[in-house]
């Protein structure tokens, strides 16, 4: 079974440009999450999709970040316009749907996209 994949693995852009990150979750996983790790700091939650719906976007830093998951399969995270402080590693994770609300399941992480804004 293929794991979570992310594209690109690295991206270097200039301040003010736009970048779109892509995540393909494990097939059949309804839950999809975005996290990021800024240099030297902990991994922080950005948002959570259940299928195509945003369940929780409390971690999104500001309106320069837009996440979508049309069709409930892969997801994209767009940063527009990018700022220096957006540099970091962006992780995507997925987990299966749980029939019992409030349940938990292991989140499987992708390798991440390293974003550098110059």
């Amino acid at each position: 079974e293929a794991g979570v994949t992310q594209f690109p693995s690295h991206s270097v852009i200039e301040k003010g440009q736009t970048v779109t990150l892509r995540c393909d979750p494990i097939s059949g996983h309804d839950n999809l999450y975005w996290y990021r790790r800024v240099m030297g700091k902990e991994i922080k939650f950005l948002l959570h999709f259940v299928k195509e719906s945003k369940q929780d976007e409390s971690g999104m830093p500001n309106n320069r970040f837009l996440a979508e998951r049309t069709g409930g399969t892969y997801s994209t995270l767009k940063v527009q316009p990018a700022e220096l402080e957006d540099s970091g590693v962006y992780f995507c994770a997925s987990s299966p749907y749980r029939k019992l609300a409030g349940g938990t399941d292991t989140q499987y992480f992708g390798p991440g996209t390293r974003l550098t804004v110059l």
Binding site: N31, E42, F91, T106, Q107
Partner: protein, 116 residues
């Protein structure tokens, strides 16, 4: 507030020794905790988890201990091997009522180095 943190940023051990990595959390309502291992260039990899109704759980060479009284979590690795060298994160799973899944709150990470 919500925070999960680690006591030590780095840990160096001799191959074959046991390793203990510690973590403190502050949300007393949390009921699910996970340890992840992250190797260079890779994403966090699940190691072991534990629910709040347990105080100990064992896996292959790894044991997680949970002390809810002092809100402390630890990961023990037996007979540490060079392949165990990585950054280890504890994480707290916070699930809103009636919700699916739930976000993870991570600590800063402890870098484990194994000397041959």
């Amino acid at each position: 507030g919500e925070s999960v943190g680690l006591h030590l940023p780095t840990l160096s051990v001799q191959e074959g020794d046991n390793s203990i990595i510690n973590c403190a959390y502050s949300n007393s309502a949390s009921d699910y905790f996970i340890w992840y291992k992250q190797e260079s260039g890779k994403g966090p990899q699940f190691i072991i988890d534990i629910r709040s109704n347990m105080d100990k759980r064992q896996g292959q060479r790894v044991t997680v201990l949970l002390n809810k009284t002092v809100k402390h979590l630890s990961l023990q690795i037996a007979a540490t091997q060079p392949g165990d060298s990585a950054v280890y994160f504890c994480a707290e799973n916070i699930v809103p009522p009636g919700n699916q899944g739930g976000k993870l709150i991570f600590g800063q990470g402890t870098e484990l180095s194994v000397k041959p």
